[in-house]
């Protein structure tokens, strides 16, 4: 009772659990954890309404460090638990914490179907392009040729593109951010949390132990702005420290980086439109390091969530048939008296 009477202002600190955080020093996961803890208090919900569900992997230790409700579940299945929870308890803010192996390999099926259903969840995909917890094997997002303990001669496989995959599943919100860019990350998380339906945020995350150089200059705060396009709805895709580069679509309908100057001006560049799925698909083809990293909200549109659809059906059925009654359910067949 005492608890109910003291109005507790939710703070980042009050979201920290008493468990010692056990990621490797220098791991990108720390920054992601602290941004989530910073964003949640801004959402206007009490602490007890947050639930964090993870699968298996380094990042999936996350719920233990959050003083919210949480489940550290099984490999790849976090979206399935989150789905059951969101359906039966639509008022909660449910966060799925997953990695590239968890979401895109063992949990690939759940990843696409959760997005397709537009369940109201925030999926934070920690993409470090490697398996950390099992000590460094290549992952489904590892680049072709990636050398690891399980691919000493280089990975033969093509990587999967999570953004394109999410678009194929008709995602209603897709964004990307970078672990070392805390301010940007916080903004993206906030937008993701406010979106109704499945929000996917891909975080380029650094595994300092097994894939330290994956993000190259992106991880250098002095150099990174030459390699990042900060997507803004309605704005031309200009980037670079001096804002002297841009993205345009060429005659082959492919994206290319151009220098602004005599040959190309801002008018030649693509203008971002978060509602356009076609544009989002093109942007998904820009994968680091072949392209600068497109960060920000890639795609966002409004659509009915699964739970809204379900609640409407329930209301409709109850309006038509009345609230179910056991007696009539039992007798809903040919009956006879003896």
């Amino acid at each position: 009772m005492s608890i109910k009477n003291i109005p507790l202002k939710l703070t980042a600190k009050s979201l920290r659990s008493d468990q010692t955080v056990r990621w490797c020093p220098g791991c990108g996961d720390y920054a992601i954890l602290s941004q989530v803890q910073r964003v949640m208090p801004k959402l206007g919900l009490p602490k007890e309404d947050f639930v964090v569900i993870s699968g298996i992997g380094c990042s999936s230790r996350f719920p233990y460090y959050m003083d919210t409700y949480g489940i550290h579940s099984i490999h790849g299945r976090a979206p399935t638990l989150a789905t059951g929870l969101a359906i039966s308890n639509p008022d909660l803010s449910v966060w799925v914490i997953t990695g590239d192996g968890d979401a895109l390999s063992i949990g690939g099926n759940h990843f696409i179907h959760t997005i397709r259903r537009n369940i109201d969840l925030n999926i934070i995909l920690f993409n470090n392009r490697v398996y950390g917890l099992t000590k460094g094997q290549y992952s489904p997002t590892s680049r072709q040729g990636h050398r690891s303990k399980s691919s000493p001669m280089g990975s033969i496989e093509q990587p999967i593109n999570p953004i394109a995959l999410a678009l194929a599943a008709n995602a209603t919100f897709i964004a990307r951010t970078l672990d070392s860019h805390t301010k940007h990350m916080g903004g993206v998380f906030e937008e993701a949390a406010k979106h109704k339906g499945t929000s996917l945020v891909e975080v380029y995350q650094k595994c300092i132990i097994f894939n330290a150089n994956e993000w190259g200059d992106l991880q250098d705060s002095h150099k990174r702005d030459d390699h990042i396009i900060y997507l803004e709805d309605g704005q031309p895709m200009v980037f670079g420290k001096n804002m002297d580069k841009g993205i345009r679509m060429n005659a082959q309908y492919e994206l290319e980086v151009v220098e602004l100057g005599d040959e190309f001006t801002e008018a030649d560049l693509l203008v971002h439109n978060v509602k356009s799925k076609a544009l989002a698909l093109m942007l998904s083809s820009m994968e680091w390091p072949n392209f600068p990293a497109a960060l920000g909200v890639i795609h966002s549109r409004e659509a009915q969530t699964y739970t809204e659809g379900l609640e409407l059906q329930i209301a409709d059925a109850q309006a038509r048939k009345g609230v179910g009654n056991l007696q009539s359910l039992y007798a809903d067949a040919d009956t006879w008296e003896i």
Binding site: Y69, G70, Y330
Partner: protein, 615 residues
């Protein structure tokens, strides 16, 4: 008229309708059953259909059958051997003739016995004319021709549509043979085809003509009467096991004051539970068709965490996929129910046929020491009770509970005396709302006297906590690798399941309390085994029957019961799974009599084995 035929009174009679899967035999059988049920007979039915939706017409693989046993006495099974077989084509005859009683009645549609159909059914000569059926009372009737003739004046229906009515012609004949009214089926047709009255008219006409054909033809030597059964008075309906499961789950949810979440993936023979529940949105039922079996189980764990009455339904191959998430449910110690409607295995096995071969799988088929309560319903309508009991156990021990049904129970039907919902006691659920530790902390694994842990639902202030699949410290639930912690938590998980024995009724025995032989069975074989033991007792044999409904934990007195007999025989539709568990649990000798043919036991098979065991 009575000089034309002799009326025979029977206590019970078994009839099988068999045809091509497109011939509407399930419908015909159901219509016959409804009419006899309304008349007041006790009934038990069993459909037998191919796993292909539409196997090639006329082939053995495409035969669809429906068997019904009707009686004036207590009917416990769909019957061993039909007295009457309605065969719509050669394949149907071939597939069923081995089961027919000698001297039984065959009504065969001669129009379908063409050279090509005979070949498809792998007949070398026409059985209707080659005297191979001389031991039966054979009625070759040109059903197709007669049906066409009967419907020739109906305008606005294609020849094909008219031919589709021939099952009702056959039904009408059968109604005549058993002296049944046409009212129930007539009404049903009128409602069913309210929007297409011409179809109702054609089917009714076909049925009436079939009936009058029975009346006017001199072919039938007998007409059969089965008196009303003396059943408890009240309102009855017919119910299958899958229907009863669905209705039981909805009832349990109401009795818990919760909404039902049913997360599942379509799989034969469990899918009808989903179909039945999907219609019940007005009960607030949240059915969720997941992308796979694994996701279905995950969603159930999530929904249980959120405080719903969370249930999934599947069959053996689905259990295989669900095992990991079932184990998570066990580790998180949340209440939930898993319905396994068993089918023939291993692997894809026999999807539409019955077997009880998932017992070891649900008992032991997960990594680690992973105890889950198992309850096995005994008859189709008992699935209703099992659903409610499973919910009660799940709440009491905060655990996943397994209902071990099977394809026979799921699809068979029997009369069900409608219960009064108010007479079903509530299932009290307590959710934690206050901290239970010192200094206002919440200890998610602090147990009550039954070994259950507090069920705190997200959204409850002050009780934020983390659960996970890693093993834990007692009380706090914090991740722990301490050896003693793992030993203690393992013991606590086992202990609370074992403690359910307190609410499980003692094992009852049918027959003498001691003697030469105790027959043990479980699940859907109840009717066959009980009937066989009943018959053998009547013959003066020293045999009793213990049908075990609770497979984990076993009833407290089970060992004591078993010790009173010189010999124990376990009859089950597998190669001795319960026998294996009984030997291991109690260190006693048991004989195993298993059957794995994808078919239920026949009463006669059990009887033979009883005689054998008593020698």
């Amino acid at each position: 008229m009575s000089d034309k035929y002799i009326v025979k009174e029977l206590d019970s009679v078994v009839i099988r309708f068999a045809g091509d899967s497109g011939d509407g035999m399930q419908l015909t059988g159901t219509q016959f059953t409804n009419t006899t049920a309304v008349f007041g007979n006790d009934i038990s039915t069993m459909p037998d259909f191919p796993s292909e939706i539409r196997a090639p017409a006329g082939t053995l693989a495409g035969v669809s059958g429906f068997q019904v046993n009707i009686g004036s006495t207590d009917i416990l099974t769909p019957g061993d051997e039909p007295l009457v077989l309605v065969a719509m084509n050669p394949a149907a005859l071939k597939a069923s003739i081995k089961d027919l009683q000698s001297g039984g009645i065959i009504i065969a549609n001669t129009d379908a016995f063409t050279a090509s159909n005979l070949k498809k059914a792998e007949y070398e000569s026409n059985p209707l004319t080659d005297h191979s059926l001389d031991g039966y009372e054979l009625h070759g009737i040109p059903l197709t021709t007669m049906n066409r003739e009967a419907l020739k004046d109906i305008k606005g229906l294609s020849g094909k549509d008219k031919d589709r009515c021939q099952n009702f012609f056959a039904l009408g004949m059968t109604f005549w043979l058993f002296d049944r009214e046409l009212d129930t089926s007539t009404e049903w047709l009128q409602v069913k085809f309210a929007k297409k009255p011409i179809l109702a008219e054609a089917n009714i006409k076909a049925m009436q003509t079939g009936y009058f054909f029975g009346e006017t033809t001199e072919a039938f030597r007998h007409r059969y009467r089965v008196r009303k059964a003396t059943l408890e008075s009240g309102t009855y309906r017919k119910i299958t096991g899958n229907e009863a499961t669905a209705i039981g789950l909805v009832t349990a949810a109401e009795k818990m004051g919760k909404t039902l979440f049913y997360g599942t993936y379509p799989i034969t023979p469990a899918t009808d539970i989903l179909h039945n529940l999907a219609k019940l949105r007005h009960f607030g039922v949240r059915t969720y068709q997941a992308e796979d079996e694994i996701a279905a189980m995950g969603s159930v764990v999530g929904a249980a965490f959120g405080g719903a009455f969370a249930v999934t339904g599947t069959s053996g191959p689905g259990i295989a996929l669900k095992s990991e998430a079932m184990n998570l449910g066990l580790m998180l110690e949340l209440p939930m129910v898993i319905v396994d409607v068993q089918r023939g295995g291993p692997s894809t096995g026999l999807p539409t046929k019955v077997e009880q071969s998932d017992l070891l799988q649900v008992m032991y088929g997960r990594n680690g020491d992973s105890p889950m309560p198992i309850i096995a319903p005994t008859t189709p309508s008992d699935c209703f009770n099992a659903a409610i009991e499973a919910a009660r156990m799940a709440i009491r021990a905060t655990t996943p509970v397994i209902i071990l049904s099977d394809g026979f129970l799921g699809n068979s039907s029997e009369p069900w005396l409608l219960p009064d919902p108010d007479s079903i006691p509530p299932i009290p659920v307590t959710h934690a709302t206050e901290p239970n530790g010192e200094d206002g902390t919440f200890l998610p694994y602090k147990r009550d006297e039954n070994g259950a842990r507090p069920w705190a639902v997200p959204g409850t202030k002050g009780l934020e906590h983390r659960l996970g699949g890693l093993d834990k410290s007692p009380e706090t639930g914090n991740v722990s690798y301490v050896p003693e912690d793992h030993a203690q938590m393992t013991a606590e998980r086992l202990g609370k399941i074992a403690k359910l024995v307190d609410i499980i009724p003692d094992q009852e025995v049918y027959g003498e309390e001691d003697g030469d032989l105790l027959v043990i069975s479980w699940g859907g074989t109840y009717g066959a085994v009980r009937s066989a033991v009943r018959d053998e007792i009547e013959k003066g044999r020293s045999v009793s029957h213990a049908h075990i409904r609770y497979l984990n934990p076993f009833p407290a007195n089970l060992e004591e019961v078993m010790n009173k007999y010189k010999k124990i025989m376990v009859s089950e539709l597998n190669n001795g799974q319960l026998a294996f568990i009984l030997r291991g649990t109690y260190g006693i000798e048991v004989e195993s009599y298993g059957k794995v043919e994808g078919q239920p036991f026949k009463i006669s098979e059990i009887a033979e084995h009883i005689e054998e065991a008593l020698k």
